[in-house]
């Protein structure tokens, strides 16, 4: 069953142009030039219920804008959107009771009160029957390990605990669609993992449709079977994440710091040189060759430091969009 249907969605923002400096300010006071920023430009896709989909793309790509249109926060400039049969920006209460939006770093949980108070409010606002509330609450508290936390003032909780409470608050009404906007941003590695596991479990248990935006490759890797890559407002890729990773991110970057300078030509034998400095160089190495190459380098040279880094989503996406070699030059440690 189709949960979300998007046809030719466009969202343009009018932005005012101003020349720098005082003359520019005066000029723009009298005559303001404006141009359209195409945050989202003719995007179409459908999502079936129960799918776990990731919107991937660099900052400013348009993924959050798309999410905001889907949740009814923004009116599109053009196109048709249907979520659970509703037009999101009409913001009907019936519709809003069926989805949840969780925004990383934006808190819904009341700061000065224990999270439990927020849960009780949500129970009423979302018209959750008493029995269902109790069951869902017990279940989620258990999965998220929040027993000790829900009756402590939110401001006394750690960021990770607060984020888990945010999720709990959002899921009390068992929404059919869950929008997650950068849910793991600012969290430590362990907490990121916890959140990912939880979302996956929630999707498995309740069959909820989950849409996640992130610029962390790891979020998407861990959670999403299907990925929509959005760049500069365009839908660049829609399909299996495996395909994306295999095809476009089958390499890693290795940054090596040597005790004494090494010639660029010597290093070229180990891998493609991305950024060269006599003492510190970044190489691009095929994923499966990383162990051998690092072992070899450590053997052949006096190495002070060796740093292995995953390719950035930005890089992968840029590659997809340009269809050619990505611009490695920016990746310098």
């Amino acid at each position: 069953m189709t949960a979300i249907s998007v046809k030719n969605l466009s969202k343009y923002y009018e932005v005012h142009q101003k020349e720098p400096g005082l003359v520019g300010s005066l000029k723009s006071f009298v005559l303001r030039k404006s141009y359209d920023v195409k945050a989202v430009d003719d995007i179409s896709f459908t999502i079936e219920s129960g799918e776990l989909v990731g919107f991937l793309g660099p900052n400013g790509a348009g993924k959050t804008t798309t999410l905001k249109v889907l949740s009814g926060l923004l009116y599109p400039t053009g196109g048709e959107v249907s979520v659970l049969g509703y037009t999101p920006w009409q913001r009907q209460a019936e519709f809003q009771r069926q989805f949840a939006l969780v925004m990383g770093q934006k808190s819904q949980v009341w700061w000065d009160l224990p999270p439990m108070e927020t849960f009780l409010i949500n129970k009423e606002i979302y018209e959750v029957p008493d029995a269902q509330f109790r069951d869902t609450l017990d279940e989620l508290v258990q999965i998220l390990e929040l027993e000790k936390v829900i009756n402590v003032q939110a401001r006394k909780l750690s960021l990770g605990e607060r984020m888990k409470c945010e999720l709990l608050a959002a899921l009390l009404h068992r929404p059919q669609v869950l929008f997650l906007d950068e849910p793991t941003i600012g969290l430590d590695v362990v907490m990121q993992q916890n959140i990912r596991n939880f979302v996956r479990e929630y999707n498995a248990r309740y069959g909820a449709t989950v849409i996640l935006t992130s610029h962390y490759m790891r979020d998407v890797e861990a959670l999403c079977d299907r990925v929509l890559i959005i760049d500069h407002g365009h839908l660049v890729f829609d399909g299996d994440l495996d395909t994306v990773v295999r095809r476009y991110a089958d390499y890693k970057f290795m940054t090596v710091t040597f005790e004494s300078p090494v010639a660029e030509s010597d290093l070229a034998t180990y891998g493609a040189v991305v950024a060269y400095r006599p003492r510190t160089t970044t190489l691009r190495i095929a994923r499966n060759a990383v162990p051998q190459v690092s072992a070899q380098l450590l053997q052949d040279y006096p190495v002070l430091d060796l740093n292995i880094v995953e390719p950035e989503v930005d890089d992968v996406v840029r590659q997809l969009f340009s269809g050619g070699k990505p611009a490695y030059a920016e990746v310098v440690s």
């Binding site: 905001k68 926060l73 209460a93 925004m103 009341w110 009423e124």
Partner: protein
Amino acid sequence: MLKSFRKLRAIFLASWQESLMYRAESLVWFIGEAIIPLIMIALWLAAYRTVDRIGEYTVQDMVHYYVMFLVLSNLLTPHLEWNTGEWIRSGAFSAHLVRPFPYQLWQLAVEVAFKGVRVVFLVPMLLLFFLLFGQEMLGGFALRWEIAPILLASMVLSFLLNYCLKLCLGLLAFWVGQTDGIIESYAVVTMFLAGSIIPLDLMPAAVERVTHFLPFRYLYFFQVQLLQGRLDFLSALSALAIQVGWLLVCYLFVQWVFAAGVRRYGAYGG
């Protein structure tokens, strides 16, 4: 109907609890608000050393005026313009828009709940004023029993009217980047036009006339007039009708502003 009540009650109870965390701040705000009336009373007491009557006011009326003004403005003024503007600017407003409950009602429940803490400070403050100006204060009361229901109704209407005005002010954040300056200016201007600084009927005739075309005289001044028995039953009733009219206008206006603002809302903050 019952569902709406439960929702409002839930918000109210949580807000009530939260307001208790701001006891200390509330006291500080209260003290700050009391300063101007105290200064004005001191000023007028000096003025009344040489005259018995200024306009329609005896010295008792005057002291009573400022004390009642303080009480009423404390009870009937919501302060949602600051949070509203802040949330719109930061994008936190999105959480309110996504919720199946109108923001306008949500904040109303919050504001009513926060008045609870204020009331607690009202009593000792009134006692203090009574100790300072006891005799003078009581002399100003002239509330007739038939006016009492009109007074109560006008107080409720005043709160709602004020709420609409303040909400509008906060919603300006949809269009204007920095609303702090506008909010401050509004506060200063309305202080005069509402009668906080000088009784409206003692202002220059031209200014006094202008206040009849604005909603501000119905926020606190109207109520003080009732308390001082300055309006007969029919005048009071017709003034109440005008107040209702203003509430209707402001209500419709704020709904329109809200809808227009949401259309424009860029949901900033990523």
